[in-house]
């Protein structure tokens, strides 16, 4: 072939490759990049959908409407009937401020925008929807109101759930904000140093304090040849650091049960070396520490230092929920629920059903096991100890007439100087229907004194009013 023609062909090849490269890039763009780019809030098409589709309603477990949209002339307006009550669950959807909460997670279901597949695209073209789907939550509106009233005036969070099914009955985090007045309040909320936008139940990481002793107790039960007897004198020195008991009082002669009932720090810190980092870490991870908890809203991951090099003092601190251990209140709820549910941790969820406008059930959430925290024998042993915590120990304020409550208190020291007050528990102990976590941030008083009564009142209301 002539040199000239050879060169012509090489130029042709360059062109062909460029064209094919464009086709390749387009396909790559569509498959891997398009989804994220489409979601950019500058994409006006996102809001065109909003303007034409009546967003679905959000209801509680009994059919009470919590949020709904209504067409007013050309405009569709979103109403948040209970203002502040659901700000951390439902969140909000505003053109100016974007979306949060379930409004964000379930946006396409609420708008009934089908996922991007060939058949759905044809459906979208032939029969574009004008009304979105409804969400039916696991929340009990009455209990949610009660929960908020119990927490009112404090900073912190209360969550309750069914330990066997994972249904969240109520979830309140204070301070909160008014979903229906976001436009008016935006600047004030954004500048508030107490961060009302923060959902403390799932986004707050706190030292769990003595509530973590539940895990250390299981760790101790899992350690063979461990001497479970101990003489408490009110303080103990572990590897150069002195741990003291609450108000420095010694508890005298203790076994594992009485140590948990009295929440004895010196007992657990001195046993921690023998239990060891690995055993303690394994139990903690069985209860979802260091694991992502799948949920309808974004959850921060709790941490227990399994891979870090911590010395004996660090491990001792960890064994009583101080030092490098951090947990979300939701995670501590799963610890209590796991013990209540024979050692099995179930996945918590907020959205029970997705229902189309004509009442067709589109999706139902089923109970799923997340992990096995411990064996049912161990769970039973710990449950017995937790009953005694309420009967005779630090959690007396959580006791209810005629109902056996199991629980554990916690008073967690932190950088602020005012300790966090914790309570985790469940009831009735022989057939648990509800598990509760109470966290009062920087409350400056003990969990038994301030957190346990909130849990008690919540459980009383729930057992009398919820249709389980």
């Amino acid at each position: 072939m002539k040199l000239e023609n050879k060169r012509i062909i090489s130029v042709l090849i360059v062109f062909c490759l460029s064209f094919i490269g464009l086709v390749g890039y387009m396909s790559y763009f569509q498959v891997f990049r398009a989804e994220k780019i489409k979601q950019n809030s500058y994409n006006k098409r996102l809001w065109i959908n909003e303007e034409n589709i009546v967003r679905g309603s959000i209801l509680d477990r009994n059919g009470t409407v919590l949020a709904y949209s209504e067409k007013q002339g050309d405009e569709i307006k979103r109403y948040y009937k209970y203002g502040r009550l659901y700000s951390h669950i439902i969140g909000y959807s505003y053109r100016e401020y974007g979306k949060a909460g379930l409004e964000l997670t379930y946006n396409s279901q609420l708008l009934n925008i089908n996922e991007n597949s060939a058949i759905n695209e044809i459906i979208n073209i032939v029969a574009p929807s004008t009304v979105g789907n409804n969400l039916e939550l696991t929340i009990d509106h009455g209990l949610q109101e009660k929960t908020r009233n119990l927490l009112k005036g404090k900073k912190g969070t209360v969550i309750s759930m069914n330990p066997k099914t994972g249904e969240i009955y109520s979830m309140v985090s204070l301070p909160d904000f008014d979903s229906s007045r976001l436009k008016e309040d935006w600047n004030e909320i954004a500048e508030d140093p107490n961060s009302p936008f923060l959902n403390r139940a799932i986004q707050g990481l706190y030292p769990p304090g003595s509530t973590f002793k539940l895990i250390t107790t299981i760790g101790a039960l899992n350690t063979s040849n461990l001497d479970l007897e101990y003489d408490c004198v009110g303080s103990v020195n572990v590897h150069g650091y002195t741990f003291t008991d609450y108000q420095g009082k010694g508890h005298g002669h203790l076994n594992l049960k009485s140590a948990l009932v009295n929440s004895c720090n010196t007992y657990f810190t001195s046993k921690s070396t023998e239990i060891g980092r690995d055993t303690l870490g394994r139990v903690a991870e069985g209860f979802m520490f260091n694991n992502k908890i799948p949920f309808d809203l974004p959850v921060k991951t709790s941490s227990f230092p399994v891979n870090e090099n911590i010395d004996k003092t660090g491990l001792a601190a960890a064994s009583i929920g101080q030092g490098k251990v951090l947990a979300t209140p939701l995670n501590m709820l799963l610890v209590a629920s796991g013990i209540a549910n024979d050692g099995e941790v179930v996945q918590p969820y907020l959205v029970k059903n997705i229902v189309s406008k004509d009442g067709k059930m589109l999706k139902t959430t089923r109970t799923e096991t997340l992990s096995r925290g411990t064996s049912s024998i161990m769970a039973d042993k710990v449950k017995d100890m937790m009953i005694d915590v309420i009967k005779y120990g630090t959690g007396k304020n959580g006791s209810i007439k005629n109902v056996q409550v199991a629980g554990k208190t916690g008073t967690a020291e932190n950088a602020s100087g005012n300790s966090h007050a914790w309570f985790v528990g469940f009831a009735p102990a022989d057939d648990p229907k509800i598990a509760v976590t109470v966290l009062l941030e920087e409350e400056g008083s003990s969990g038994g004194r301030s957190a346990a009564p909130i849990a008690r009142d919540l459980i009383i209301y729930a057992l009398n009013n919820i249709k389980f």
Binding site: E4, N5, R7, I8, I9, V11, L12, F15, C16, S18, F19, I20, G21, L22, V23, Y25, M26, S27, F29, Q30, R33, A34, E35, I37, K38, N40, Y42, N43, K44, R45, I48, N116, A118, E121, I122, I125
Partner: protein
Amino acid sequence: MIKKGAKSRQPRNLLFLFEVLSLSLLFLYQWDSLEKSTYITAIGLVLIIYLSNFLLLKISDGDQYIFLIVTMLLSIGLIMIYRIDEGLGVKQLLWISIGILTFYLTYFVLRYIKGWRNWGILYLGLSYLLFLFTFVLGSRIKGAKNWIKIGGISFQPAEITKLLLIFIIASFYSNKEKYKDIKYSNYYLVGIVYSFIALLFLQKDLGMAVLFYVIFLALQYIYEEDRKLIFLNIGLFLAGGLLGYVVFDHVKVRFVTWLNPWPYIDNKGYQIIQSLFAIAEGGFFGTGLGLGYPYFIPHADTDFIFSAICEEMGLFTGIGIIMLFLILVYRGFKIALRQKNKFYKILALGISVLFGIQSIVIIGGVLKVIPLTGITLPFVSYGGSSMLSNFIALGVLQVASEDLGLEDEHYEIGE
């Protein structure tokens, strides 16, 4: 000839089917409020395309496919333009008709007037004259001073100059013997092309400058015997690009918004991001005609028509358009390989490179593969002058596809 006719009937009928199907989209889109202009546009398009394809078969025994390919591109473009703006669609149909007439006119003029390869100086003079016109009479559209208005009709002279450039280069390399005695004649050519590019830079017409450069580089690569000149050419372009980046703000903006447009989402990066939104929204099958939002895309009827098409007709139609250009370029190169007449061989190459690089530059631009430069997508975008010049180019390619015999230099040499 008869055999050939029978062979070509099938693709022509397939094309007819394609037209009917694609136009039915337009009718479905307008179903509730069909207008007279829609009927006129649809029937007009089918008639023009079918007749001209039919006629071409009678007239030319050259390539029968390039015109078919172009008519498919025209149809996709027209449907999109009509959907965006009905008045513009009717106008575009008019431009298509004039374009096809120009195509035939070019064909006959080129076929029956000889000596085109000897008028290099004439092309050169005409090019500079057109540049002069642009500077004197030019008005700014979209920030580039590259349009002149004569009696209400806007016209972009560079659209003609790009063809003249191909003619200049073809005439130079096919007359090499003649220029052999002149020392550094090939350097003069580089100088001429660079003077064009510099003038285009001054008009802020970056897309056209890139077009001119690539056409020149490709032809130089094939025909230049002095190979080090090619490296000089590449080096000069890089240096010029760097200089342009430093000196001209509009070059810098294009580059910065190509690297990362997101921080400039509501100013400099607005156009390219709107284009990306549209393509992303389209998915593989598109939203369907009339169900997308081409009004969100700036210049959806011209520079960004590819994005608008991708949104409503989907990624697959976008790939289809790229494939059509690929076949068009491939046919063009094949024509060049077969052509024995050197002047027409170079013309065919130049035109194929023109179609190829113009579509790559604008499609790559709206996809953010390369920096965005504003030029039209040949035969698809709305626009009179680009339609005319592309049809002239196609006419030249059609002539080049025929058997023109060996070099027609015999009667020229006798001068």
